[in-house]
C-alpha cells in the first residue's frame, strides 16, 4: 500500500463529479432565488422580476453582483476569525450533503462505468443527518461572533429550533429504515425501483420529514431565525456583502439538497414510474433517471416556496410546542406501528 497506488482515473472521475455537482447545485441555488421571487409574485398576483434579461432570468446575476459590490463590514467588537468562519461553515455544511445523494444510475463513458454518486457509503442517511447537525455551528458561530445581543438571541433561537426538529426527523426516518433495512441511499432507491415508492408505506413519515425539513432549512412557517423585520433580522444581522450572501445562499442550497433527499427517500429517487429502466440502454436510463430526479426535486422546491407564501410564521412557543408535543409523539407512534407491522409481516 503505497501512496501512489491510487486508482488515479477513479480519483479524477470523482473529482470531476464533485465539481459538476457542486457547480450545478450552486447554479440551481442561484435560480432558486429567482424562482422564489417569481413564485411569490405569481401567488400575490404580481409579475415579479422581469427587467434583467428576458423574463428577468439574469436577475440572480444582478443580485449576486449587488451583494459582491456592497461594502464589507466587519464590526469592530466582533470576533474577526469566527465572524468569517460562520458563513463559510454554513456554506460548507450545505454543500457536503450532496456527496451521498445518488443522482442517477450508472453512466458508461470512455469504457468506464461511472457511478452518478460521489460516495455510496453504507451509512448514507446518517451521514446526511450528521452534516445537518453540523449546520447549527454556522448559525451559532456567526451569531455569537457578531457580538450583538440580537444576533446571539437569534442564533440560539435558530439552533434550538434545528436541534428540536432534528429529533422528530430522526424518528420519522427510523420508521423508514425499518422498512428498507439499509442506510445506503443507493440501496433505498434500488428497492423503490423494484417495488412501490416509500411514500406508499410511510405517508405520515413523509409528512413529518417534510415539516422537519422546512424547520431545518429555516423556511417559513419556521423561519424565526431570520425573521427580517419582526424579530430584528436574525443571526446574520451584522453581516453584509457576500458574507450575508453566503448565509442566504447556503439556505437555498439546503433547500435543494433536502428536496433531493426527500425525493430519494420517499419518491423513488431517479426511478421513473411505470418504466422498466433495465430495458433501456445504460446511458439513456441514466439520463432519464437524472431528469426524473431533477423534476421531483423541482417539484419539492416549488412546494417549499408554495408553503412559504401561503402560511404565516409560527410564534416561538408554538414552534417549540409543535416540535416537542406534536411531532415527536407522532413520529414515535409512527415508528412503533411500523415496527409492529414489519414484525407481523416478517413472521
Amino acid at each position: 500500500m503505497t501512496l501512489l497506488a491510487f486508482d488515479w482515473i477513479f480519483l479524477i472521475e470523482k473529482l470531476v463529479l464533485i465539481v459538476i455537482i457542486i457547480s450545478v447545485s450552486l447554479v440551481i441555488a442561484m435560480y432558486e432565488t429567482y424562482a422564489e421571487r417569481k413564485v411569490a409574485a405569481w401567488i400575490q398576483d404580481r409579475v415579479g422580476p422581469d427587467r434583467a434579461g428576458p423574463w428577468g432570468i439574469l436577475q440572480p446575476l444582478a443580485d449576486g453582483g449587488k451583494l459582491f459590490f456592497k461594502e464589507e463590514i466587519i464590526p469592530n467588537s466582533s470576533n474577526k476569525f469566527l465572524f468569517v468562519l460562520g458563513p463559510c461553515l454554513a456554506m460548507l455544511t450545505a454543500m457536503m450533503t450532496c456527496a451521498v445523494v445518488p443522482w442517477s444510475s450508472k453512466l458508461e463513458l470512455f469504457g468506464r462505468s461511472i457511478d452518478m454518486q460521489i460516495a455510496d457509503i453504507n451509512i448514507g442517511i446518517l451521514y446526511v443527518f450528521g452534516v445537518v447537525s453540523m449546520g447549527v455551528y454556522g448559525i451559532m458561530i456567526g451569531g455569537w461572533a457578531s457580538n450583538n445581543k440580537f444576533s446571539l438571541m437569534a442564533a440560539l433561537r435558530g439552533a434550538s429550533q434545528v436541534i428540536s426538529y432534528e429529533l422528530a426527523m430522526g424518528l420519522s426516518l427510523i420508521a423508514l429504515l425499518m422498512l428498507t433495512g439499509s442506510l445506503s441511499l443507493k440501496t433505498i432507491v434500488e428497492q423503490q425501483q423494484a417495488g412501490l415508492w416509500n411514500i406508499a408505506y410511510q405517508p405520515l413519515g413523509f409528512l413529518l420529514f417534510f415539516v422537519c425539513a422546512l424547520a431545518e432549512c429555516n423556511r417559513a412557517p419556521f423561519d424565526l431565525p431570520e425573521a427580517e423585520s419582526e424579530l430584528n433580522m436574525g443571526y446574520h444581522q451584522e453581516y453584509s456583502s457576500m458574507k450575508l450572501g453566503f448565509y442566504l445562499f447556503s439556505e437555498y442550497i439546503n433547500m435543494f439538497i433536502s428536496s433531493a433527499i426527500m425525493a430519494t427517500l420517499f419518491f423513488g429517487g431517479y426511478d421513473v414510474p411505470f418504466l422498466d429502466e433495465s430495458k433501456l440502454a445504460v446511458n439513456v436510463a441514466a439520463i432519464v433517471g437524472l431528469v426524473a430526479l431533477m423534476l421531483k426535486i423541482f417539484f419539492f422546491i416549488f412546494l417549499f416556496m408554495w408553503v412559504r407564501w401561503t402560511l404565516p410564521r409560527f410564534r416561538y412557543d408554538q414552534l417549540m410546542r409543535v416540535g416537542w408535543k406534536n411531532m415527536i409523539p407522532l413520529a414515535l407512534a409512527n415508528m412503533i406501528i411500523t415496527a409492529a407491522v414489519v414484525l407481523l409481516i416478517k413472521k
Binding site: 500500500m1 447537525s133 455569537w144
Partner: protein, 167 residues
C-alpha cells in the same frame, strides 16, 4: 509510508494539538470549538478503522448535539478572561502533577495490558464498527446491559420532564 499511515499520523497530530488547544484557550467558546475539532479527528480515526457507523454517530451525538448544548450555555453565560477566577500558581502546579500522574498511569496500564499486547488495529478490513455487526453484538450478546442503559436514559428523561414541569 502508506496513505492510511499518513492519514493516521496527521489525524493523531490534529487530535492532540486541538486537545491541547482546548486546555490552553483563554476563551471558553474557543475551547468548545477546539473540542469539536478533536471529535472530528477521532471520527477520522474511526473511519480509518472502517467503523463508519461509530464515526458518524460520534459526530451526530457529540459534535452535533452535546457540543451545541455546551456552546449554548457558554454563549449565554458570557464568560471571558476578565470574569475567570485566577487560580494560584501552586494550584496550577499540583493540577499539572496530578494530571501527569493520571496520564502516565493510563499509558502504563494500556502498554502492559495483556489484551492489547501483540495486537494491531484492523485498518480498512475491520467489521466491528459497521452498523450490522454492531447491531448484532448489541442485541445478542449485550442485550441486558443495553436495555438497562435504555431504562436509565428513560428515567433520566422522565426526571427532566418532572423537573421542567410547572406545578
Amino acid at each position: 509510508m502508506g496513505t492510511a499511515q499518513i492519514l493516521f499520523w496527521s489525524l493523531t497530530a490534529l487530535a492532540l494539538i486541538s486537545a491541547i488547544m482546548v486546555l490552553v484557550s483563554k476563551n471558553p467558546v474557543y475551547s468548545v470549538l477546539w473540542l469539536i475539532v478533536v471529535f472530528f479527528a477521532i471520527s477520522g480515526h474511526y473511519i480509518l478503522l472502517n467503523a463508519q457507523f461509530l464515526a458518524i454517530v460520534n459526530l451526530i451525538v457529540y459534535a452535533g448535539a452535546i457540543m451545541v448544548l455546551f456552546l449554548f450555555v457558554i454563549m449565554l453565560m458570557n464568560l471571558n478572561t476578565e470574569t475567570e477566577p485566577q487560580k494560584s500558581i501552586w494550584m496550577k502546579f499540583f493540577g499539572v502533577v496530578a494530571g501527569g500522574l493520571l496520564l502516565s498511569f493510563f499509558i502504563s496500564f494500556v502498554i502492559s495490558s495483556a489484551d492489547l499486547k501483540g495486537k494491531s488495529a484492523q485498518l480498512k478490513e475491520g467489521e466491528i464498527g459497521l452498523i450490522k455487526t454492531l447491531g448484532k453484538a448489541l442485541f445478542n450478546d449485550y442485550v441486558i446491559p443495553f436495555e438497562i442503559a435504555s431504562i436509565l436514559f428513560l428515567s433520566a428523561m422522565v426526571g427532566a420532564v418532572v423537573i421542567g414541569k410547572k406545578d
